[in-house]
């Protein structure tokens, strides 16, 4: 199937369509949005389902098969914040805080983009390895930690609230929050529970966590479209450089990701998903962490780039692209 057909097939599948509907509703100035608690509930459901199923499938995987992919994931977790920081600082001439803030977003990962990639590989008949959710948990925090460390070093001690009485503001407290945030509890926790409860447990709960998954995802993407759509106005604020970077960074990170993943022995489907992880940008775990530790970083930059540029790009065009890259790398390797 040529790239254009893959693209078209992707665009006409539930996830991109629901996302597009959300964006369109905002463009038409509709006030419609999911209730906040429904949005949160859907994300909890999706993350826990992902973790449980991943954990259940982990019980069938050998440690050997995961070792290299895990190493590749960690390498991406170190690399992507650095390339992002470099591009922001030296190409874009942004402040160290803005560069570090952006690096935290692009060094981490978007779980929904991951899921979209997983669904895509299933649809094209090249399902990813069952242990991919485990890799997802590995990529969640290193990028944030590295980026915040860079930011802290560069800002120096002067701006630290040294005399202020807040321990909750300390970098350690913030990193602890990343580690114990919603995504980590549900994903890592879900992996353990899924692993421990085994087949009988998974069978009991899969009518809830598995059958409904794709529909719930669609509803979630509708709201993602609304959220992204309401940031489109900020595109003018952030300027052409960030607009370009929001598309270029995922392509570069996706290509590197696909290559490393293939070298690490992942299937084409698995490589597509790992590439998508590298290409995606966090908009859940990174923003509060950056806001608290790098107060002078402008959150409009990083959130708009992650949510309104990179996320739609990946959902609509990126994933099929990374799939073709993964195919090409796999063919070249043989």
């Amino acid at each position: 199937m040529p790239l254009l057909d893959t693209l078209q097939a992707n665009l006409l599948s539930p996830i991109p369509l629901a996302f597009a509907l959300g964006v369109l509703a905002r463009l038409m100035k509709s006030e419609f949005a999911l209730p906040k608690d429904l949005y949160a509930s859907l994300s909890i459901y999706l993350l826990l389902a992902l973790g449980l199923k991943g954990g259940y499938e982990l019980s069938h995987a050998s440690v050997a098969s995961i070792a290299w992919p895990a190493a590749a994931t960690l390498a991406l977790g170190v690399l992507t914040p650095l390339t992002t920081y470099g591009a922001m600082r030296w190409l874009g001439r942004f402040s160290t805080s803005d560069a570090a803030g952006m690096a935290a977003h692009y060094g981490s990962v978007s779980a929904v983009t991951f899921i979209a990639a997983q669904q895509f590989t299933q649809r094209v008949g090249a399902p990813a390895e069952g242990f991919m959710p485990t890799l997802l948990t590995l990529l969640e925090s290193p990028g944030i930690h590295i980026a915040l460390a860079i930011g802290a070093l560069n800002r120096g001690p002067t701006r630290q609230h040294g005399d202020a009485p807040h321990s909750t503001g300390s970098t350690w407290a913030v990193l602890h929050e990343v580690f114990t945030g919603r995504t980590m509890v549900l994903l890592v926790g879900g992996l353990f529970v899924g692993y421990l409860m085994g087949e009988s447990g998974w069978k009991a709960v899969s009518p809830f966590f598995d059958s409904g998954f794709k529909g719930a995802l669609m509803l979630f993407l509708l709201e993602m479209g609304i959220v992204a759509g309401s940031r489109l106005g900020d595109l003018r604020t952030v300027g052409p450089f960030l607009l370009g970077l929001g598309v270029l960074l995922p392509i570069v990170h996706g290509a590197i990701g696909a290559t490393l993943a293939t070298w690490a022995g992942l299937s084409v489907g698995g490589a597509t998903v790992l590439a998508t992880m590298a290409a995606s940008a966090s908009y859940i775990a990174a923003p509060p962490a950056v806001r608290l530790t790098l107060p002078d970083a402008n959150p409009t930059y990083s959130l708009t780039a992650s949510l309104a540029i990179t996320f739609p790009f990946n959902i609509l065009f990126g994933i099929p692209l990374y799939y073709r890259i993964a195919q090409a790398v796999a063919t070249a390797q043989v």
Binding site: H161, A164, P165, P287, R291, P299, L303, L307
Partner: protein, 103 residues
Amino acid sequence: MHTHPMKLVTIIAEPVLEPRLAHDLKQLGATGFSVVDGRGAGSRGLHATTIPGDNVRLETIVSIAVADRIVDHLAQHYFTDYAVVAYTSDIAVVRGAKYDTAP
């Protein structure tokens, strides 16, 4: 009934700051605080939350001295970088001692 004059300090802030502000208030001598979730629009329009405009509203009943300290602290540590609005008003409470911190 005899009432005591106190200050009410109201802080409207980005949600991410709630735990830090709660911690600061206690350190600065507040004996407690109340929080309500809200939304709003202002002149800066920093879109620091996924859903733009969300905020939290903290209120604390304190003595005049503590109110001053809180306002100073906010001005020094938050007003520059964060979307934080704060004001004080005069209130009367029964049992003024409840809101005084041990010296």
